[in-house]
Amino acid sequence: MDFSFTDEQQMLRDGVGKFLEKSYDFDTRQKLVNSDAPWSADAWQQFAEFGLLALPFSEEQGGLGGSISDCVAFAELFGKHLVIEPYLGSVMLAGSALAQSGHAAAQEWVEKIVSGEAVAAFAFEEGHGTASPELVAMTAQGSGDSARLTGEKRLVHAGGDADAIVVLAKKGEGGPLAFYLVEAGADGLDARAYTTIDGRSAANITFTDVAATELGTSEEAVEKLISEAIIVQSAEAVGAMGALVAMTGEYAHTRKQFGVPIATFQAVAHRLADMKIAYTKARATLIYTTALAESGAATPRDIAILKGQIGKLGRAVGEAAIQTHGGVGMTDELSVSHYHKRLLACDTTFGDHAYHFRKVGMG
């Protein structure tokens, strides 16, 4: 087995990495987060040029036919730079859901997403514990092109800014799951937009008898889509962890107290060691699970192990980084706290580590 990135993936990493290094440094990112813009249109355009927006889609759909490991290759860099653009929601989740559907309207949206012309949001979460698709309670009335949606979705990334929203709901009372397409501005949509603690634009959306187009789907397809999103999100988390380990190590070797670098205190040195162990363990599980998923062999248990580990280890690394930085780690000015908030968001979205560990334990 070979778990290294291919030459092509390495090239993609180099390109995306250079771009982010140059145009997405922390100060620029903070200006963006504190501005009125939900994300950077320029960065989004660049992602389109790198082919990232086309990557997961098949060639027939105007995509590049990329694989999950291609996405992991650059997503680590997204985490390293705390990218706030809605890649996961628009491309990995809403985009894939649309791509699965044979509906003509869905295909049109895929084209627009691939070209960067449109952004779609993915409405899945309903509050607590909807980490598994089978727990989605929202129910659609009617079918085909005349479905109607009523209910509430929360933490919809880009939900207030997207051109289209893909909603997961049940087909009638107790029916199977299906995706529904809702266009921005539809009657009965009420989005309350906000910024998340990790700087992304999101919304809680109330649907009151909203006109929707049924896109269809199967339980398995939903499961796969969310599993892949979890893998990509985990890659972002691992990227953030790596950045924290590096900057905390550097800080501990330069910050002096009692006349010596704090890294020379055993309590600090051992914490640095634990951070590195956590990061390495998380990255190993990420890469291995990605390989499993790529070969079609990843089970729900594998995904739960990944999600649980990333959530727990990510939190631990973030907390250790803040503690090691002391007072400065507590500030908004330094990136450390922002990395930690991204890791908290990764842990919480799609079910936190406690939830996934329990899934693993249930066998």
């Binding site: 727990l135 107290q257 006349g259 704090i262 803040i322 007072g327 500030t331 908004d332 919480t348 079910g351």
Partner: protein, 420 residues
């Protein structure tokens, strides 16, 4: 919660007599009186501030209003000696007061004035300093900031370099301080300055009271914290002239003054366990309304119960430790006591806040700075519990850093365990 408080704790171990833990009936009347006052005296804004306190430092304005109300009632400083404005309550009464205070979710009073500089002046201030400063601390006219830390002197406080040069009856201060909590609200400040570079670094430090915080040459810049709120500040001094009469203790003897004060800071005049239990109660109440992803409500979920149970057991132990300590038990005379108290307490605050964010789930991920402000007309996205849990978690990352980081505390504790 804990309704039974040792009525005569001092007995066990020290005198050989049996320890009694029943409550004397007259104390129940006292409890009722306190509860009644807490139910009626605070304004709605003060209550809101109490519920929206996401730090050990409550929202300033409402907190000081509440301070004033307690002052008028004569209850603002139960831990002070009666002659200086304390209540003269027994240990049991003080504990009941603290318990009822937490149950009512009222804003905690700010520690720097009543908890630090006040007791310090009572212990070792000159008569003139007491006359001059204690009344304003009690009635809340004054609010003191604590100027110890510097950009290059955190854990190694003795390395501080902000300099004070004697000049006639004054000192001239140059340098800077950082992490000074609420300096942007304060009107006075106590600080450590370097007055000599000779000998051991601890020996050239002096403790100063500044009777104002707006001396010419002083500049205060708030620092925004990871929760989005300005709580700490940087304070800059450029040729700031202050009177030497503000010195506490002798010149160059500030280290022992500061060590004395530290006992008040770390020892914690106020018991923390009732607050922590209150966090658990709130988490439990929220969990009763939160569906578990495994069916039923989160509060009925076995894993949640195990987790909150372990946490509550640990908090209960802290409560036992605190009660023994305030009863004068020998554990409080252990030289490691303040460090142990600080370590246990700070880590429990963090664990409780983690549990709270777990109950809030995705609803904790929204950044809702506006809704958190007292008097805000912005509706929170979820419940008030969800609004508070994440900022509380983020802010509580500091509890293991300030007042001497937990690594440094463990070093101090370890020293008392060694064979020597």
């Amino acid at each position: 919660m804990m309704d039974i408080v040792p009525a005569r704790f001092a007995m066990a171990g020290t005198t050989g007599r049996e320890m009694k833990i029943e409550f004397a009936p007259e104390l129940e009347a006292f409890r009722a009186e306190v509860a009644e006052f807490f139910a009626t005296a605070p304004t709605p804004a003060i209550r809101e501030a109490g519920r929206k306190t996401t730090s050990v430092f409550a929202p300033f304005k409402e907190c000081m209003e509440w301070h004033r109300i307690l002052y008028d009632k004569g209850w603002v400083a139960p831990h002070w000696p009666e002659e200086y404005g304390g209540t003269g309550w027994s240990v049991e009464q003080r504990f009941i007061f603290a318990e009822e205070y937490r149950k009512a979710d009222l804003p905690p009073l700010l520690p720097q004035s009543l908890g630090m500089v006040g007791p310090l002046l009572i212990d070792i201030g000159t008569q003139e300093q007491k006359d001059r400063y204690l009344p304003g601390i009690l009635n809340g006219d004054d609010f003191w900031a604590q100027g110890y830390s510097e950009p290059n002197s955190g854990s190694d406080l003795a390395s501080l370099s902000c300099r004070a040069e004697p000049d006639g009856d004054d000192y001239i201060i140059n340098g800077s301080k950082i992490w000074t909590t609420y300096a942007h609200h304060a009107n006075r400040m106590f600080m450590l300055v370097r007055t000599s570079t000779e000998g051991k670094k601890q020996q050239g430090i002096t403790f100063l009271l500044l009777d104002r915080i707006d001396y010419p040459g002083m500049e205060i810049r708030p620092i925004v914290g990871l929760d989005g709120f300005p709580e700490q500040c940087e304070v800059f001094f450029e040729d700031v002239r202050v009177p030497q009469s503000g010195r506490v203790g002798e010149e160059n003897d500030g280290w022992s003054v500061a060590k004395h004060l530290l006992k008040h800071e770390r020892g914690g005049g106020n018991a923390a366990s009732p607050t922590l239990m209150r966090y658990c109660e709130r988490a439990r109440a929220a969990a009763e309304k939160t569906p578990s992803p495994f069916g039923g409500m989160l509060a009925d979920d076995a894993v949640f119960q195990r987790e909150i149970g372990e946490l509550e057991a640990d908090i209960a132990s802290l409560g036992h430790f605190e009660k023994l300590a305030i009863s004068g038990h020998e554990i409080a005379r252990d030289p490691a006591f303040p460090s142990m108290n600080k370590t246990i307490n700070s880590e429990l605050v963090q664990r409780a806040s983690v549990l709270m964010t777990q109950v809030s789930g995705v609803d904790g991920l929204a950044r809702q700075l506006e809704a958190l402000r007292v008097g805000s007309n912005v509706e929170p996205l979820g419940s008030e519990f969800d609004l508070v849990s994440m900022p509380l978690y983020l802010n509580s990352r500091a509890t293991t850093i300030y007042a001497g980081s937990n690594e440094v505390q463990r070093d101090l504790i370890a020293r008392t365990v060694s064979g020597s």
